[in-house]
Subunit: 243 residues, 2 copies
């Protein structure tokens, strides 16, 4: 499995993904799940993927390849005029990859090739936004009522997001919140693993604000994890009893 | 779905279950998922169920019926000499119900009839214990390393249990912890719903210590839910930033 979250803040976007990939418990490794295309001053586009690794790798390779060899006629994520059109393009490409995997005669396994994508970024002329793209190629856009997307093993880390997320958080707070959400997931599920990839994007800058890989021995992360554990336990102790 | 948790404390057992049952989103109702058999001074046995409602109702009906009309020869949960034997009996009965549902000619749907059970209690002569019983009829017993069981929609409410549970909690603290875990689940998933059933059992008393149904308008629960939300947000604010 995988855990990725994309947040839309008033001041920009924050992306975080884990890096574990596994087929069974004795075949696991690290793989990058966050990919960025940047045209400084003009657009920043970030994609995070969850699902079948063959599918997500093909998706990223196709997007990458097409963005490089594009003739004037073909659409690429570097030439589309809006994030909505980029989402359509990524959705169509994802659908294409899944369809091709399924078309092998006699090798039925539709659900096996599924993948889900979080797409976010900003193109000059419109606001930063996020999309959640389904294996069928269709997608939904982030809204004020639903200001973040999660993919993969999302349940463990959801309660804290539901309770503490607010679009007016600053970048430091949003990163802290994501680290807590990832930490809760990590503590409960073996298929989500460190290191984590973290990226922030500040509105109207059209370049990545910060990008960091948080390794297992990261002291600042360990401090957040430990402090949060203690804070939870002491909040729990101080809570009134039931009746 | 469903959410049920059984905790083993040093001082006894605590059980909590939700009551929502649904087939789709427009067909839902309340149903009891916690069932208790008591022989005062001799044994208390509690069962919580998750899964297909037809399966779990048949299971409980069979157990109930057999415990009433037992001849000297047949085993019932009121006559077995240990919780381990009760677990075997419940597991066998569960397997029997699922096998019968699956034997309808031409109506294949093995996974549809699945159910999982938490069994807990104490029989005179041994300690209180908990079992997690699988649809296949086999089961695992609670251990010091793994001192609680969850069934149903268990992921949302797991992180707080993992972090704050300790066998030396008293009953009030354990109830508080369960309410937080259920509240986190409720906030994130429509298929788990109030009222909740809550039961506590004190070691070596051989009678139920307390049993309460927590309704939606329960003021004490609302206070815990709100206080916990506030406590989380303030713990979050006070946490150090990442670097």
């Amino acid at each position: 499995m995988t855990y990725c979250v994309g947040l839309r803040l008033k001041s920009g976007l924050v992306f975080m993904s884990d890096t574990r990939t596994n087929a069974g418990v004795d075949n696991f490794s690290k793989t990058k799940k966050m990919f960025t295309w940047e045209v400084p001053g003009e657009r920043v586009i970030t994609i995070m993927t969850a699902g079948n690794l063959a599918t997500t790798q093909s998706l990223i390779s196709l997007i990458e390849e097409r963005s490089k060899i594009a003739s004037d006629r073909s659409a690429t994520i570097l030439h589309e005029h809006s994030m909505f059109q980029v989402a359509r393009l990524v959705g169509d490409t994802l659908k294409e990859v899944i369809r091709e995997s399924n078309s092998n005669d006699g090798m039925k396994g539709a659900s096996k090739f599924k993948a889900t994508v979080i797409l976010g970024g900003q193109i000059k002329g419109s606001d930063p936004t996020l999309f959640l793209i389904y294996p069928e190629g269709n997608f939904v856009e982030v809204t004020t009522e639903n200001p973040f997307f999660q993919i993969g093993e999302l349940k463990y880390g959801r309660p804290i997001l539901v309770r503490a997320f607010d679009e007016s958080l600053d970048f430091d707070e949003a990163v802290k919140l994501l680290l807590i959400s990832f930490d809760s997931t990590l503590k409960a599920n073996l298929s989500v693993g460190m290191p984590f990839d973290l990226q922030t994007y500040e509105k109207d800058t059209f370049k990545v604000r910060s990008e960091v890989r948080i390794e297992e021995d990261d002291a600042a992360y360990a401090e957040i994890s430990n402090s949060w554990g203690e804070a939870l336990r002491s909040a729990f102790k101080e809570l009134p009893s039931y009746k």
